[in-house]
């Protein structure tokens, strides 16, 4: 059941109405049933995997909580890690590793040792496993007491608005909300609907429109070169942002209708002034997850023996894993390594570059400096997205090699510009950036809310019909569902 499907638009109001009609005592049960139903609409049998993860982590956390010895606590934690990551490896990475080894053997002229499995990747597995794992690690570290209510813990793992593509919630934030549900609040309801509308705008009007042009180039890499390739990759940056942040807005809005606050996952990442800044603004729930549970778990940082070289190594490893989290493909691994290396380069050159900026006088013009920073970050992001979007590593290399060959690019560009679709898409990107910037400074929602009812309602109704009229309503899947 996609957020942009008719089924969801029927399902959600029913759940919300029932939620506020039944007794507070049973709300968790309603949401749990709704969440499992939501997941089963995709593939019913895979719900067993969520139930299994839930049971393992529930009992492991209880054991960790009761066990006084650290050594034994660690054994339980390892059990949880093995089960969860084993499941992830089995469903997501097994074929990738087998295929890579087969290719290696093939290159050497030897017989391929592994046969591949035909397994359908369970939707959202990377999200709910990471969410569940963060809970066991938090219990192990003593940040969280074990949850004793199995049903409420099961709801924490499977809460439908964020089940299939995040945000990856922490138990310290979501579980208390499940325990103390808020009463009906009309302001929350209205603000939830507004957030959902903004998400639909980003997904239907921008992301799915840009997706047509991106696919046009990326599905046929041998046919394109020069400007269309660069333009398609730049558009993909906006498509990815609008698709994923649009999804997050709908998820957060849906949860807010029932009084739940999910974490902010994006903070205008496309105006980041450095890659470090970018990763502080992009998919925040994942980057903070890796920071807290991977980077900080590595030796030399945890033990406060700060040795730069090793920090940099750990950073690259963390980003490699983060790339691999996105998908079992070399393209994602390279995407991660690229970002890891560039973050190290940024860190190493930060001090030596400061006097250069001074000498050039750039520091006196903060807007120019910010502009340079945004251009630099967006360029690097675009470069890395060649790997992120390409279907295969060879496609990525082909497109990269053809991107700077500007011969005969007119026809592709003409096709892309046909029907003014692209021009409209670019106008919408500008509108999005301007609105986000304005909202960050002046809180647009409050501004509109303070206007007389006639203006307010005109704006809301206008926005709804704008989405309906200009949205691409073919039900494109959300990109992050595949992860």
């Amino acid at each position: 059941m996609l957020f942009n499907s008719l089924e969801y638009l029927i399902f959600l109001p029913i759940v919300v109405v029932l939620y506020f009609t039944i007794s507070v005592k049973w709300r968790w049960l309603l949401l749990l049933v709704a969440s499992y139903f939501f997941y089963m609409c995709w593939k019913a049998e895979y719900v067993v995997l969520i139930a299994f993860t839930t049971l393992v982590d529930y009992f492991v956390a209880l054991k960790i909580g009761r066990e006084p010895l650290k050594k034994k606590k660690k054994r339980y934690l390892i059990l949880s890690l093995l089960v969860n990551l084993g499941m992830l490896a089995g469903f997501k990475y097994l074929n990738f590793f087998a295929d890579s080894i087969n290719m290696l053997f093939g290159e050497m002229g030897a017989e391929q040792p592994f046969s591949l499995f035909h397994i359908l990747l369970p939707v959202g597995i990377s999200f709910y496993i990471f969410q569940s794992l963060s809970y066991t690690i938090d219990v192990y570290r003593g940040y969280k007491k074990p949850e004793t209510h199995l049903g409420k813990f099961a709801l924490y793992v499977s809460f439908f608005p964020q089940l299939v593509a995040g945000p990856i919630e922490r138990s310290t934030s979501l579980l208390p909300q499940i325990h103390k549900p808020l009463p009906f609040d009309q302001e929350r309801l209205v603000s939830g609907i507004k957030l959902m509308l903004w998400g639909f705008f980003k997904k239907l009007v921008i992301a799915d429109r840009l997706g047509m042009f991106v696919s046009y180039v990326y599905e046929n890499p041998e046919q394109h070169n020069g400007l269309p390739v660069i333009l398609a990759t730049m558009l993909f940056a906006f498509q990815l942002y609008c698709d994923f942040s649009g999804y997050t807005d709908i998820a957060r809005g849906s949860a807010r209708l029932m009084g739940y606050d999910l974490m902010i996952n994006f903070n205008r990442p496309l105006i980041a002034r450095s890659l470090r800044d970018f990763w502080n603004r992009w998919h925040i729930s994942l980057t903070t997850w890796f920071r807290d549970y991977v980077l900080y778990s590595m030796p030399y940082i945890r033990e406060k023996k700060i040795i730069n070289r090793k920090i940099y190594r750990n950073l690259i490893i963390s980003f490699l894993l983060m790339g691999l989290w996105h998908g079992a493909a070399w393209t994602f691994i390279l995407f991660g390594i690229f970002h890891g290396i560039m973050l190290v380069v940024e860190s190493v050159t930060e001090k030596p570059l400061a006097p250069v900026y001074d000498r050039l006088g750039i520091n006196r013009f903060p807007k120019v400096k910010a502009g340079i920073g945004i251009f630099y970050t967006f360029s690097l992001l675009t470069l890395s997205l060649f790997f992120f979007r390409a279907n295969t590593l060879s496609d990525a290399c082909l497109l990269l090699s053809r991107a700077f060959d500007f011969s005969n690019t007119g026809e592709s560009l003409r096709f892309m510009l046909k029907n003014n679709e692209l021009t409209f898409g670019i106008l919408m990107i500008i509108a999005l950036l301007v609105t986000e910037q304005y909202h960050a400074k002046h809180n647009l929602i409050l501004k509109i809310a303070s206007k007389p009812i006639f203006i307010r309602w005109s704006v809301y109704a206008g926005f709804i019909f704008f989405i309906l009229l200009f949205g691409v309503l073919h039900q494109q899947k959300f990109i992050y569902f595949q992860f």
Partner: protein
């Protein structure tokens, strides 16, 4: 929930519904495609002559009804076999006009999933398509959203149609249409295009999908259409319309046409209604001047093609047809 909030919410919803009804009705009345399709329906309703040939298909269908006597060209833009089936069913079951022959489009792109997924102009097709049946055959409940779109939200996602409707508002009043045929493709010539190969590649990739050449839903409706014709004693010719050489070259890089047509033949020959395939795809190879774009004939091309079709149909029916005609 306070009473004031509930009242306001209801009022706002009522306002949205009101605007929606206004937009829906305006779109249905003024959409250029709706106007053209409605005019075609009106012409068909008032068609009083013997209906020997009824042609169905999408914009590739360029049969000139001035040239092919006793014919009605009921093809419409983006039409696929699903839509053709329901339109034919409507004609056979609900009107007194029974064609002797059905000329059914059978181009390479006719059978692919991209054409199968094009559910456009639902506010027109809602008059014909049984959406619940389609959802069942396709195994996809989401098709029902198309019913909803056609019934209540005809404008949704159709801003391009509105744009066209504004641009062509004046032209459409004087647009010539004769028994469904519109001789309008004369303002561009494919021969003048500087990069025909690229245009052909773009068009071929727009309609065909690598690795999937016969969509299961299209296959199901193809069989249903042949069965329907058999039940009503309507004879069927499959027609492959002329395409440019460049387009065919690109299309056959994507679709294994030999495999596709052997499957099509195997299905069709199982029905007594099937009379054979008339293949004109290469009729104008090396003659881009007869094309409007890579896969549509212009007015002159349509005339030449229809003349040949008329001769071939006559010969077929007199039993003297030879395969070299139509080339």
């Amino acid at each position: 929930m306070t009473g004031k909030f509930a009242k306001r919410a209801l009022l706002f919803i009522a306002l949205l519904l009101l605007i929606n009804v206004a937009l829906d009705q305006a779109f249905k009345a003024f959409s250029v495609h709706n106007i053209l399709n409605r005019r075609m329906d009106e012409q068909f309703a008032s068609y009083n002559d013997t209906l020997k040939y009824l042609s169905l298909g999408n914009s590739h269908n360029c049969i000139n009804t001035y040239i092919l006597e006793n014919s009605f060209n009921y093809g419409s833009p983006s039409e696929n076999y699903i839509q053709s089936y329901y339109k034919l069913k409507h004609i056979l079951e609900k009107t007194d006009k029974k064609p002797e022959y059905l000329l059914l489009q059978a181009d390479i792109s006719t059978y692919g999933p991209k054409i199968a997924e094009r559910y456009e102009y639902n506010s027109y097709w809602i008059n014909y398509i049984n959406y619940p049946e389609l959802a069942r055959i396709k195994g996809d409940r989401e098709v029902l959203t198309k019913w909803l779109e056609g019934k209540f939200f005809s404008y949704a996602g159709n801003y391009k149609d509105i744009q066209l409707s504004i641009v062509y508002r004046m032209k459409i009043r004087t647009l010539e249409m004769h028994n469904g045929y519109r001789p309008h493709r004369d303002y561009r010539n494919f021969a003048d295009e500087p990069n025909r190969k690229k245009l052909a590649w773009d068009k071929a990739n727009l309609f065909s999908t690598r690795g999937a050449y016969f969509d299961p839903t299209i296959k199901a409706y193809f069989k249903m259409m042949l069965q329907l014709c058999q039940d009503y004693n309507v004879r069927v010719y499959l027609i492959r319309y002329p395409v440019s050489q460049e387009f065919y070259a690109e299309e056959t890089k994507i679709v294994p046409s030999v495999l596709l047509y052997s499957e099509v033949e195997a299905i069709a020959s199982g029905f007594s209604s099937y009379q054979g395939m008339l293949d004109y795809h290469s009729m104008f190879f090396g003659h881009p001047e007869y094309f409007f774009d890579p896969d549509h004939l212009n007015v002159k091309g349509s005339d030449l093609f229809t003349r040949q079709l008329a001769i071939d149909l006559k010969q077929r029916q007199s039993g003297s047809f030879t395969e070299q005609t139509g080339k």
